[in-house]
Amino acid sequence: MRDQNICLDEQLLLFMDQLEALEEKRHKLNSLIEGGWFSIAKARYSMGNKQVSSLQYASEMEPLVHVEDSLMESGTVEFKCNRAENKTDELTQNNSIEDIGAKEGGLRRRINTKQKEDKEEGASEQQETDHQGKTKTESTTPENRDPLKWFGILVPQNLKQAQSAFREVITLSAEIASIQSAILASRKEMQAQMKEKQEKSGKTKPEIIKD
């Protein structure tokens, strides 16, 4: 019984610590978001009212941030934020190599058409052209992926500040989501322990009420 009480106390302390961590992160998130809005407002002031609005969103969007969720043994879910900045570098490198390959393919195709005009060759050509098309589309995407470019090429510094603020907010929100999940798991665990304790003590009222 005493062990159970100690266990319950420890769980409660952990729960309080988690709530404190959540409070702290929340406070940070709120101030970062406020800063972000302020920067957006400043950018809107210098660019014009309708230049920073939902009308400027691109018709094609690709996410630059992903969250990886991993279920822990304790039943909590941990969210980890992954930014695709390194991946874009890799993509640009890959594309530069692929572009060279595509050019060679173009030359080869011209020779082939002169030498042979088989149907099989035609099919392979189609595949090659498809491949070229893909590399072209891929090569254009990483450059246009930065959402800042939706709002123009020479955007004010404030919009860049807003972007960096919201990037931090995104990372922070993944951390908050992990803490929230841990809080809910702790709550579940505490309720289970409390129930167990009450069952053991039978119909007698718990000590807290007696006091």
Binding site: V52, P147, Q163
Partner: protein, 119 residues
């Protein structure tokens, strides 16, 4: 999508959505469905609720960020969501500062310490 991780969805006012999209969370999938909803004055509660439920049903979304004043409009739907994925996060908006007493997670946590739990 499985190897790349999940997305973050946003339901919020124009500035909140613009900010988060600047941060790089925006996606339009093959069916041209976005992972965000810009809530304007004329956006109906039904539309918000349907979008929220569609985000819950999508398995490529890990976190849903929602302005707290919008969350208040569809509180029953948010309270009804008990799964840990996708996680729902209430964030402040420009006109409405964050109020911890309204947050569904903190209200659940607070429920631990009500008198009924000790009986």
């Amino acid at each position: 999508m499985p190897g790349r991780g999940k997305l973050i969805a946003v339901i919020g006012d124009e500035d909140t959505c613009t900010g988060f999209l600047l941060g790089g969370i925006g996606e339009l999938n093959k069916n041209r469905k976005p992972n965000f909803l810009v809530v304007e004055k004329d956006t109906s509660i039904t539309e918000i609720e349907e979008t929220f439920k569609s985000f819950l049903a999508r398995n490529d979304i890990g976190i849903i960020l929602i302005n707290q004043f919008i969350a208040e409009m569809i509180r029953h739907a948010i309270d009804g969501h008990m799964e840990s994925i996708p996680a729902v996060l209430e964030i402040p908006s420009k006109e409405h500062p964050y109020d911890a007493s309204k947050d569904s997670i903190l209200r659940r946590a607070k429920g631990m310490f009500c008198a009924e739990d000790f009986r």
